[in-house]
Amino acid sequence: MKWIIAIIQPHQLDPVREALTAINVHGMTVTEVKGFGRQKGHTEIYRGAEYLINYLPKVKIEVAVESTMADSVVETIRSSSATGKIGDGKIFVIDLESAMRIRTGETQADAL
Protein backbone atom coordinates (compact mmCIF):
# COMPACT_ATOMS: atom_id res chain seq x y z
CA MET A 1 0.00 0.00 0.00
CA LYS A 2 1.01 3.61 -0.42
CA TRP A 3 0.50 6.70 1.68
CA ILE A 4 -0.06 9.62 -0.63
CA ILE A 5 0.36 13.16 0.64
CA ALA A 6 -0.81 16.08 -1.50
CA ILE A 7 -0.38 19.73 -0.65
CA ILE A 8 -2.84 21.75 -2.72
CA GLN A 9 -4.58 25.13 -2.96
CA PRO A 10 -7.50 25.28 -0.51
CA HIS A 11 -10.09 26.01 -3.15
CA GLN A 12 -9.04 22.96 -5.18
CA LEU A 13 -10.13 20.61 -2.41
CA ASP A 14 -13.64 20.09 -3.74
CA PRO A 15 -12.57 19.25 -7.32
CA VAL A 16 -9.92 16.84 -6.05
CA ARG A 17 -12.34 15.10 -3.77
CA GLU A 18 -14.84 14.71 -6.57
CA ALA A 19 -12.21 13.36 -8.93
CA LEU A 20 -11.04 10.82 -6.36
CA THR A 21 -14.60 9.73 -5.69
CA ALA A 22 -14.97 9.17 -9.40
CA ILE A 23 -12.13 6.64 -9.36
CA ASN A 24 -13.60 5.04 -6.26
CA VAL A 25 -11.34 6.47 -3.60
CA HIS A 26 -13.71 7.48 -0.85
CA GLY A 27 -11.56 7.75 2.22
CA MET A 28 -9.13 10.57 2.91
CA THR A 29 -7.98 12.86 5.67
CA VAL A 30 -7.56 16.57 5.23
CA THR A 31 -5.56 19.09 7.26
CA GLU A 32 -5.26 22.84 7.03
CA VAL A 33 -1.60 23.76 6.79
CA LYS A 34 0.65 26.71 6.09
CA GLY A 35 2.83 26.41 3.04
CA PHE A 36 6.22 27.94 2.39
CA GLY A 37 7.60 27.64 -1.11
CA ARG A 38 8.29 29.52 -4.29
CA GLN A 39 4.94 31.21 -4.18
CA LYS A 40 5.51 34.17 -1.94
CA GLY A 41 3.23 35.50 0.78
CA HIS A 42 1.72 38.92 0.81
CA THR A 43 1.86 42.11 2.77
CA GLU A 44 -0.98 43.56 4.75
CA ILE A 45 -0.96 47.24 5.53
CA TYR A 46 -2.40 48.58 8.74
CA ARG A 47 -2.16 52.23 9.61
CA GLY A 48 0.71 52.74 7.28
CA ALA A 49 2.78 49.84 8.63
CA GLU A 50 3.50 46.85 6.42
CA TYR A 51 3.08 43.38 7.84
CA LEU A 52 4.70 40.58 5.88
CA ILE A 53 2.72 37.35 5.88
CA ASN A 54 5.22 34.91 4.49
CA TYR A 55 3.19 31.72 4.43
CA LEU A 56 0.20 30.71 2.37
CA PRO A 57 -2.82 28.74 3.47
CA LYS A 58 -2.77 25.29 1.88
CA VAL A 59 -4.62 22.05 2.35
CA LYS A 60 -2.93 18.71 2.91
CA ILE A 61 -4.69 15.58 1.72
CA GLU A 62 -3.58 12.18 2.96
CA VAL A 63 -4.86 9.03 1.29
CA ALA A 64 -3.91 5.44 1.86
CA VAL A 65 -4.34 3.31 -1.26
CA GLU A 66 -3.38 -0.06 -2.61
CA SER A 67 -0.04 0.02 -4.39
CA THR A 68 -1.63 -0.79 -7.73
CA MET A 69 -3.78 2.27 -7.54
CA ALA A 70 -1.08 4.67 -6.46
CA ASP A 71 -0.17 5.97 -9.89
CA SER A 72 -3.71 6.61 -10.95
CA VAL A 73 -4.48 8.37 -7.68
CA VAL A 74 -1.45 10.61 -8.05
CA GLU A 75 -2.43 11.41 -11.60
CA THR A 76 -6.03 12.11 -10.62
CA ILE A 77 -4.97 14.49 -7.87
CA ARG A 78 -2.59 16.25 -10.20
CA SER A 79 -5.01 16.70 -13.03
CA SER A 80 -7.86 17.86 -10.81
CA SER A 81 -5.83 20.31 -8.79
CA ALA A 82 -3.52 21.86 -11.36
CA THR A 83 -4.29 25.43 -12.32
CA GLY A 84 -0.88 26.03 -13.85
CA LYS A 85 -0.05 28.77 -11.41
CA ILE A 86 2.84 28.84 -9.06
CA GLY A 87 1.84 27.46 -5.68
CA ASP A 88 -0.31 24.63 -7.03
CA GLY A 89 1.52 22.29 -4.69
CA LYS A 90 3.11 18.86 -4.58
CA ILE A 91 2.28 15.19 -4.31
CA PHE A 92 4.44 12.84 -2.26
CA VAL A 93 4.28 9.05 -2.02
CA ILE A 94 5.52 6.98 0.90
CA ASP A 95 5.42 3.24 1.38
CA LEU A 96 2.72 2.13 3.77
CA GLU A 97 3.34 -1.04 5.73
CA SER A 98 0.01 -1.75 7.21
CA ALA A 99 -3.50 -0.42 7.70
CA MET A 100 -6.28 -1.37 10.05
CA ARG A 101 -9.93 -0.37 10.35
CA ILE A 102 -10.57 0.36 14.01
CA ARG A 103 -14.21 -0.59 14.02
CA THR A 104 -13.74 -4.12 12.65
CA GLY A 105 -10.08 -4.82 13.08
CA GLU A 106 -9.83 -5.60 9.36
CA THR A 107 -6.35 -5.05 8.06
CA GLN A 108 -4.45 -4.12 4.91
CA ALA A 109 -6.42 -3.44 1.72
CA ASP A 110 -9.66 -4.42 3.42
CA ALA A 111 -9.18 -1.60 5.84
CA LEU A 112 -9.10 1.14 3.25
Partner: protein
Protein backbone atom coordinates in the same frame (compact mmCIF):
# COMPACT_ATOMS: atom_id res chain seq x y z
CA UNK B 1 -33.10 72.59 41.09
CA UNK B 2 -32.77 69.19 39.52
CA UNK B 3 -34.25 69.06 36.04
CA UNK B 4 -35.53 65.58 35.22
CA UNK B 5 -34.91 65.97 31.47
CA UNK B 6 -31.33 67.13 31.85
CA UNK B 7 -30.71 64.48 34.48
CA UNK B 8 -32.15 61.77 32.25
CA UNK B 9 -29.72 62.71 29.50
CA UNK B 10 -26.67 62.83 31.77
CA UNK B 11 -27.58 59.50 33.37
CA UNK B 12 -27.67 58.10 29.86
CA UNK B 13 -24.47 59.87 28.87
CA UNK B 14 -22.69 58.41 31.85
CA UNK B 15 -23.72 54.93 30.77
CA UNK B 16 -22.57 55.74 27.22
CA UNK B 17 -19.15 56.95 28.29
CA UNK B 18 -18.56 53.94 30.53
CA UNK B 19 -19.59 51.82 27.53
CA UNK B 20 -16.84 53.54 25.54
CA UNK B 21 -14.20 51.98 27.75
CA UNK B 22 -16.00 48.78 28.71
CA UNK B 23 -16.10 47.15 26.29
CA UNK B 24 -15.61 49.69 23.45
CA UNK B 25 -12.00 50.72 23.85
CA UNK B 26 -11.09 47.29 25.17
CA UNK B 27 -12.29 45.67 21.95
CA UNK B 28 -10.81 48.37 19.75
CA UNK B 29 -7.39 47.83 21.27
CA UNK B 30 -7.85 44.10 21.84
CA UNK B 31 -8.44 43.39 18.17
CA UNK B 32 -5.26 45.20 17.21
CA UNK B 33 -2.89 43.03 19.22
CA UNK B 34 -1.82 39.43 18.74
CA UNK B 35 -4.15 36.71 19.90
CA UNK B 36 -1.80 35.79 22.73
CA UNK B 37 -2.19 39.23 24.29
CA UNK B 38 -5.86 39.99 23.88
CA UNK B 39 -6.85 39.16 27.42
CA UNK B 40 -4.10 41.33 28.83
CA UNK B 41 -5.48 44.33 26.97
CA UNK B 42 -8.99 43.64 28.22
CA UNK B 43 -7.56 43.20 31.70
CA UNK B 44 -5.74 46.52 31.52
CA UNK B 45 -8.91 48.34 30.55
CA UNK B 46 -11.01 46.61 33.19
CA UNK B 47 -8.56 47.03 36.02
CA UNK B 48 -7.93 50.67 35.14
CA UNK B 49 -11.67 51.31 35.11
CA UNK B 50 -12.06 49.83 38.57
CA UNK B 51 -9.02 51.48 40.10
CA UNK B 52 -9.69 54.92 38.67
CA UNK B 53 -13.25 54.76 39.99
CA UNK B 54 -12.04 54.30 43.53
CA UNK B 55 -9.30 56.88 43.24
CA UNK B 56 -11.81 59.34 41.85
CA UNK B 57 -13.80 58.89 45.03
CA UNK B 58 -10.64 59.00 47.14
CA UNK B 59 -9.64 62.51 46.22
CA UNK B 60 -9.43 62.53 42.44
CA UNK B 61 -12.72 64.27 41.97
CA UNK B 62 -11.93 66.67 44.76
CA UNK B 63 -8.56 67.64 43.35
CA UNK B 64 -10.23 68.34 40.02
CA UNK B 65 -13.49 69.98 40.99
CA UNK B 66 -13.21 71.54 44.43
CA UNK B 67 -12.21 75.16 44.69
CA UNK B 68 -8.62 75.00 45.90
CA UNK B 69 -6.12 77.11 43.97
CA UNK B 70 -5.82 77.86 40.25
CA UNK B 71 -3.38 74.97 40.06
CA UNK B 72 -5.20 72.20 41.88
CA UNK B 73 -8.30 71.61 43.97
CA UNK B 74 -8.25 70.66 47.61
CA UNK B 75 -9.53 67.62 49.47
CA UNK B 76 -12.79 69.08 50.67
CA UNK B 77 -14.79 66.66 48.56
CA UNK B 78 -12.70 63.62 49.43
CA UNK B 79 -15.09 60.65 49.61
CA UNK B 80 -17.80 63.06 48.42
CA UNK B 81 -17.98 64.63 51.85
CA UNK B 82 -20.67 67.26 51.97
CA UNK B 83 -22.36 66.07 48.79
CA UNK B 84 -25.90 65.06 49.64
CA UNK B 85 -28.31 62.98 47.61
CA UNK B 86 -30.15 66.11 46.51
CA UNK B 87 -27.16 68.46 46.06
CA UNK B 88 -27.38 70.09 42.66
CA UNK B 89 -24.15 70.69 40.77
CA UNK B 90 -23.93 74.43 40.58
CA UNK B 91 -24.86 76.01 37.28
CA UNK B 92 -26.67 72.90 36.08
CA UNK B 93 -29.90 71.01 36.59
CA UNK B 94 -28.30 67.73 37.58
CA UNK B 95 -27.39 66.26 40.97
CA UNK B 96 -23.74 66.47 41.94
CA UNK B 97 -23.64 62.70 42.49
CA UNK B 98 -24.35 62.40 38.79
CA UNK B 99 -21.82 65.03 37.80
CA UNK B 100 -19.28 63.08 39.83
CA UNK B 101 -20.21 59.92 37.94
CA UNK B 102 -20.20 61.52 34.52
CA UNK B 103 -16.77 63.01 35.11
CA UNK B 104 -15.55 59.72 36.55
CA UNK B 105 -16.17 58.00 33.25
CA UNK B 106 -13.78 60.54 31.70
CA UNK B 107 -11.24 59.82 34.41
CA UNK B 108 -11.54 56.14 33.47
CA UNK B 109 -11.15 56.40 29.74
CA UNK B 110 -8.23 58.82 29.75
CA UNK B 111 -5.65 56.56 31.37
CA UNK B 112 -7.22 53.64 29.49
CA UNK B 113 -6.37 55.37 26.21
CA UNK B 114 -2.69 55.16 27.15
CA UNK B 115 -2.98 51.35 27.12
CA UNK B 116 -2.46 51.58 23.36
CA UNK B 117 1.13 52.66 23.92
CA UNK B 118 2.25 49.77 26.07
CA UNK B 119 0.34 46.70 24.90
CA UNK B 120 2.03 43.32 24.53
CA UNK B 121 5.05 44.07 26.73
CA UNK B 122 4.26 45.80 30.00
CA UNK B 123 4.09 44.33 33.49
CA UNK B 124 0.60 44.30 34.91
CA UNK B 125 1.67 45.79 38.23
CA UNK B 126 3.22 48.69 36.35
CA UNK B 127 -0.08 49.38 34.61
CA UNK B 128 -1.85 49.81 37.91
CA UNK B 129 0.83 51.81 39.65
CA UNK B 130 1.37 54.10 36.69
CA UNK B 131 -2.31 54.72 36.04
CA UNK B 132 -3.05 55.45 39.66
CA UNK B 133 -0.26 57.99 40.07
CA UNK B 134 -1.06 59.49 36.70
CA UNK B 135 -4.64 60.15 37.72
CA UNK B 136 -3.58 62.19 40.71
CA UNK B 137 -0.58 63.92 39.15
CA UNK B 138 -1.65 64.55 35.58
CA UNK B 139 -5.35 64.03 35.06
CA UNK B 140 -6.91 65.60 38.15
CA UNK B 141 -4.80 68.79 38.09
CA UNK B 142 -5.21 69.33 34.36
CA UNK B 143 -8.96 68.85 34.70
CA UNK B 144 -8.87 71.49 37.42
CA UNK B 145 -6.92 73.85 35.19
CA UNK B 146 -9.45 73.63 32.40
CA UNK B 147 -12.82 72.78 33.91
CA UNK B 148 -12.48 73.05 37.66
CA UNK B 149 -11.90 76.77 38.04
CA UNK B 150 -8.16 76.65 37.37
CA UNK B 151 -5.87 78.95 35.46
CA UNK B 152 -6.54 77.73 31.91
CA UNK B 153 -10.28 78.00 32.31
CA UNK B 154 -9.85 81.50 33.70
CA UNK B 155 -7.77 82.41 30.67
CA UNK B 156 -10.75 81.46 28.56
CA UNK B 157 -9.37 78.33 26.95
CA UNK B 158 -12.03 76.48 24.94
CA UNK B 159 -12.19 72.74 25.56
CA UNK B 160 -15.75 71.55 25.47
CA UNK B 161 -15.40 67.84 26.10
CA UNK B 162 -11.75 67.11 26.61
CA UNK B 163 -9.49 67.76 23.63
CA UNK B 164 -6.88 68.98 26.06
CA UNK B 165 -8.00 67.30 29.26
CA UNK B 166 -8.42 63.85 27.72
CA UNK B 167 -6.68 63.56 24.39
CA UNK B 168 -3.60 65.73 24.75
CA UNK B 169 -2.81 64.34 28.20
CA UNK B 170 -3.23 60.75 27.08
CA UNK B 171 -1.49 61.21 23.74
CA UNK B 172 1.63 62.91 25.05
CA UNK B 173 1.93 60.55 28.00
CA UNK B 174 1.60 57.64 25.60
CA UNK B 175 4.60 58.82 23.62
CA UNK B 176 6.77 59.13 26.70
CA UNK B 177 5.59 55.73 27.86
CA UNK B 178 6.35 54.09 24.51
CA UNK B 179 9.79 55.63 24.41
CA UNK B 180 10.70 54.54 27.94
CA UNK B 181 9.23 51.07 27.65
CA UNK B 182 10.88 50.26 24.37
CA UNK B 183 9.26 48.75 21.29
CA UNK B 184 7.46 45.45 20.83
CA UNK B 185 9.69 42.57 19.77
CA UNK B 186 10.30 42.76 16.05
CA UNK B 187 9.24 46.40 15.70
CA UNK B 188 9.14 47.82 13.09
CA UNK B 189 9.93 45.06 10.57
CA UNK B 190 8.40 41.93 11.97
CA UNK B 191 5.40 42.71 14.12
CA UNK B 192 2.30 40.66 13.51
CA UNK B 193 -0.88 42.11 12.02
CA UNK B 194 -3.97 42.80 14.15
CA UNK B 195 -5.37 39.45 15.21
CA UNK B 196 -9.02 40.43 14.77
CA UNK B 197 -9.86 43.44 12.60
CA UNK B 198 -13.56 42.66 13.05
CA UNK B 199 -13.14 43.27 16.77
CA UNK B 200 -11.41 46.57 16.09
CA UNK B 201 -14.43 47.71 14.13
CA UNK B 202 -16.87 46.61 16.80
CA UNK B 203 -14.91 48.52 19.40
CA UNK B 204 -14.74 51.58 17.18
CA UNK B 205 -18.48 51.44 16.59
CA UNK B 206 -19.09 51.36 20.33
CA UNK B 207 -16.71 54.27 20.80
CA UNK B 208 -18.60 56.20 18.17
CA UNK B 209 -21.98 55.63 19.78
CA UNK B 210 -20.59 56.24 23.25
CA UNK B 211 -18.95 59.45 22.11
CA UNK B 212 -22.43 60.95 21.78
CA UNK B 213 -22.53 60.77 25.55
CA UNK B 214 -19.02 62.15 25.81
CA UNK B 215 -19.58 65.25 23.68
CA UNK B 216 -23.34 65.86 23.75
CA UNK B 217 -23.33 64.90 27.42
CA UNK B 218 -20.76 67.58 28.11
CA UNK B 219 -23.53 70.12 27.53
CA UNK B 220 -24.81 68.88 30.92
CA UNK B 221 -28.32 69.52 29.67
CA UNK B 222 -30.73 68.18 27.07
CA UNK B 223 -31.35 70.93 24.57
CA UNK B 224 -30.02 72.68 21.51
CA UNK B 225 -26.42 72.54 22.69
CA UNK B 226 -26.53 68.80 23.12
CA UNK B 227 -28.27 68.37 19.77
CA UNK B 228 -25.71 70.42 17.90
CA UNK B 229 -22.81 68.79 19.74
CA UNK B 230 -24.07 65.38 18.70
CA UNK B 231 -24.45 66.56 15.13
CA UNK B 232 -20.98 68.02 14.71
CA UNK B 233 -19.46 65.04 16.48
CA UNK B 234 -21.07 62.70 14.04
CA UNK B 235 -20.21 64.72 10.96
CA UNK B 236 -16.58 64.97 11.99
CA UNK B 237 -16.37 61.22 12.59
CA UNK B 238 -17.93 60.41 9.24
CA UNK B 239 -15.74 62.86 7.37
CA UNK B 240 -12.47 61.72 8.91
CA UNK B 241 -13.39 58.09 8.23
CA UNK B 242 -13.91 58.79 4.57
CA UNK B 243 -10.71 60.82 4.39
CA UNK B 244 -8.72 57.92 5.79
CA UNK B 245 -10.46 55.51 3.44
CA UNK B 246 -9.70 57.62 0.40
CA UNK B 247 -6.04 58.06 1.34
CA UNK B 248 -5.58 54.31 1.69
CA UNK B 249 -7.48 53.64 -1.49
CA UNK B 250 -5.31 56.02 -3.47
CA UNK B 251 -2.07 54.95 -1.81
CA UNK B 252 -2.46 51.18 -1.64
CA UNK B 253 -5.42 50.42 -3.86
CA UNK B 254 -7.23 48.82 -0.94
CA UNK B 255 -9.12 50.75 1.72
CA UNK B 256 -8.95 48.73 4.91
CA UNK B 257 -11.44 48.28 7.71
CA UNK B 258 -8.84 49.01 10.36
CA UNK B 259 -8.03 52.16 8.41
CA UNK B 260 -11.53 53.54 8.09
CA UNK B 261 -12.30 53.05 11.77
CA UNK B 262 -9.00 54.60 12.76
CA UNK B 263 -10.22 57.59 10.80
CA UNK B 264 -13.43 57.49 12.80
CA UNK B 265 -11.55 57.76 16.07
CA UNK B 266 -9.35 60.52 14.69
CA UNK B 267 -12.42 62.49 13.68
CA UNK B 268 -14.01 61.99 17.07
CA UNK B 269 -10.92 63.02 18.99
CA UNK B 270 -10.48 66.09 16.82
CA UNK B 271 -14.02 67.43 17.21
CA UNK B 272 -14.13 66.80 20.96
CA UNK B 273 -12.75 70.14 22.23
CA UNK B 274 -14.82 72.08 19.71
CA UNK B 275 -18.02 70.07 19.83
CA UNK B 276 -20.01 72.54 21.88
CA UNK B 277 -18.87 75.62 20.01
CA UNK B 278 -19.04 74.96 16.29
CA UNK B 279 -21.72 74.36 13.67
CA UNK B 280 -22.06 71.81 10.85
CA UNK B 281 -19.36 73.54 8.84
CA UNK B 282 -16.99 73.23 11.77
CA UNK B 283 -17.84 69.54 12.00
CA UNK B 284 -16.91 69.05 8.35
CA UNK B 285 -13.73 71.08 8.61
CA UNK B 286 -12.49 69.41 11.76
CA UNK B 287 -13.23 65.99 10.38
CA UNK B 288 -11.27 66.82 7.27
CA UNK B 289 -8.36 68.21 9.24
CA UNK B 290 -8.42 65.38 11.77
CA UNK B 291 -8.37 62.72 9.09
CA UNK B 292 -5.54 64.26 7.13
CA UNK B 293 -3.33 65.32 10.01
CA UNK B 294 -3.71 62.17 12.09
CA UNK B 295 -2.98 59.98 9.09
CA UNK B 296 0.20 61.87 8.54
CA UNK B 297 1.02 61.78 12.24
CA UNK B 298 0.72 57.98 12.35
CA UNK B 299 3.39 57.66 9.72
CA UNK B 300 5.50 60.33 11.34
CA UNK B 301 5.63 58.76 14.78
CA UNK B 302 6.12 55.17 13.68
CA UNK B 303 8.38 55.68 10.65
CA UNK B 304 10.28 58.89 11.33
CA UNK B 305 10.48 58.96 15.09
CA UNK B 306 10.68 55.16 15.15
CA UNK B 307 8.78 55.13 18.44
CA UNK B 308 6.53 52.15 18.97
CA UNK B 309 3.46 53.95 20.26
CA UNK B 310 1.88 50.69 19.31
CA UNK B 311 -1.74 51.60 18.74
CA UNK B 312 -1.03 55.22 17.79
CA UNK B 313 -2.30 57.00 20.88
CA UNK B 314 -0.27 60.12 20.26
CA UNK B 315 -0.90 60.24 16.54
CA UNK B 316 -4.64 59.68 16.75
CA UNK B 317 -5.69 61.07 20.12
CA UNK B 318 -2.96 63.52 21.00
CA UNK B 319 -2.59 65.06 17.58
CA UNK B 320 -6.33 64.92 16.94
CA UNK B 321 -7.14 66.57 20.25
CA UNK B 322 -4.54 69.28 19.72
CA UNK B 323 -5.71 69.97 16.17
CA UNK B 324 -9.28 70.30 17.33
CA UNK B 325 -8.33 72.54 20.19
CA UNK B 326 -6.57 74.93 17.88
CA UNK B 327 -9.23 74.86 15.19
CA UNK B 328 -11.94 75.46 17.79
CA UNK B 329 -10.65 79.02 17.93
CA UNK B 330 -11.41 79.38 14.24
CA UNK B 331 -14.72 77.63 13.86
CA UNK B 332 -16.20 79.10 17.00
CA UNK B 333 -16.68 82.39 15.13
CA UNK B 334 -20.29 83.06 14.28
CA UNK B 335 -19.73 83.65 10.59
CA UNK B 336 -18.57 80.01 10.35
CA UNK B 337 -21.63 78.80 12.22
CA UNK B 338 -20.13 78.74 15.70
CA UNK B 339 -21.40 80.22 18.95
CA UNK B 340 -19.06 83.18 18.61
CA UNK B 341 -15.97 84.27 20.44
CA UNK B 342 -16.27 85.85 23.85
CA UNK B 343 -16.76 89.58 23.85
CA UNK B 344 -13.59 91.46 23.13
CA UNK B 345 -11.62 88.35 22.22
CA UNK B 346 -10.17 88.19 18.72
CA UNK B 347 -9.56 85.01 16.79
CA UNK B 348 -5.86 85.61 17.23
CA UNK B 349 -6.20 86.00 21.00
CA UNK B 350 -8.19 82.83 21.24
CA UNK B 351 -5.71 80.93 19.10
CA UNK B 352 -2.92 81.96 21.43
CA UNK B 353 -4.93 80.88 24.45
CA UNK B 354 -5.62 77.54 22.83
CA UNK B 355 -1.96 77.07 21.97
CA UNK B 356 -0.96 77.88 25.52
CA UNK B 357 -3.47 75.35 26.76
CA UNK B 358 -2.17 72.60 24.50
CA UNK B 359 1.45 73.47 25.12
CA UNK B 360 1.29 73.72 28.87
CA UNK B 361 -0.68 70.52 29.25
CA UNK B 362 1.56 68.64 26.84
CA UNK B 363 4.60 69.73 28.75
CA UNK B 364 3.18 68.85 32.13
CA UNK B 365 1.99 65.47 30.84
CA UNK B 366 5.39 64.66 29.42
CA UNK B 367 7.39 65.68 32.46
CA UNK B 368 5.07 64.08 34.96
CA UNK B 369 4.80 60.84 32.99
CA UNK B 370 8.56 60.67 32.79
CA UNK B 371 8.92 61.06 36.52
CA UNK B 372 6.13 58.64 37.34
CA UNK B 373 7.66 56.01 35.08
CA UNK B 374 11.06 56.45 36.66
CA UNK B 375 9.42 55.71 39.99
CA UNK B 376 7.50 52.75 38.60
CA UNK B 377 10.70 51.32 37.20
CA UNK B 378 12.20 51.40 40.65
CA UNK B 379 9.19 50.09 42.50
CA UNK B 380 8.11 47.19 40.33
CA UNK B 381 9.78 47.38 36.94
CA UNK B 382 8.12 48.34 33.70
CA UNK B 383 8.78 45.79 31.01
CA UNK B 384 7.87 42.12 31.15
CA UNK B 385 10.63 39.58 30.54
CA UNK B 386 11.34 38.50 26.99
CA UNK B 387 10.18 35.00 27.79
CA UNK B 388 6.86 36.24 29.05
CA UNK B 389 6.50 38.45 26.02
CA UNK B 390 7.18 35.58 23.65
CA UNK B 391 4.73 33.30 25.37
CA UNK B 392 2.20 36.10 25.53
CA UNK B 393 0.95 38.16 28.45
CA UNK B 394 -2.41 36.40 28.56
CA UNK B 395 -0.89 33.29 29.94
CA UNK B 396 2.18 34.61 31.69
CA UNK B 397 0.48 37.49 33.49
CA UNK B 398 -3.08 36.25 33.80
CA UNK B 399 -2.93 32.49 33.46
CA UNK B 400 -5.49 32.28 30.70
CA UNK B 401 -5.78 31.80 26.94
CA UNK B 402 -8.00 34.01 24.84
CA UNK B 403 -9.32 31.33 22.54
CA UNK B 404 -9.96 27.65 23.29
CA UNK B 405 -11.80 26.67 20.15
Amino acid sequence: MVDAGDTAWILTSTALVLFMTLPGLALFYGGLVQSKNILSVLMHCTAIACLMSLLWLFGGYSLAFSEGTPVVGDLSKFLLMGVERETVFSGTGIPESLFFMFQMTFAIITPALIVGAYVERIKFAAVLLFSGLWLYIVYAPVTHWVWGGGWLGSMGVLDFAGGIVVHVTAGVSALVMAKMLGPRRGFPKAVRPPHAPWMVMVGAAMLWVGWFGFNAGSALSAGGDAGMAMLVTHISAATASLVWMVIEWVKYGKPSLVGIVTGTIAGLATITPASGYVGPLGGLALGLAGGLICYWAVELVKRRFGVDDSLDVLAVHGVGGATGTLLAAVFVVSSLGGVGLADGVSLGDQLVTQAIGVGAVALWSAVATFLILKLVQIVCGLRASDEDIIEGLDFTAHGEKGYNL
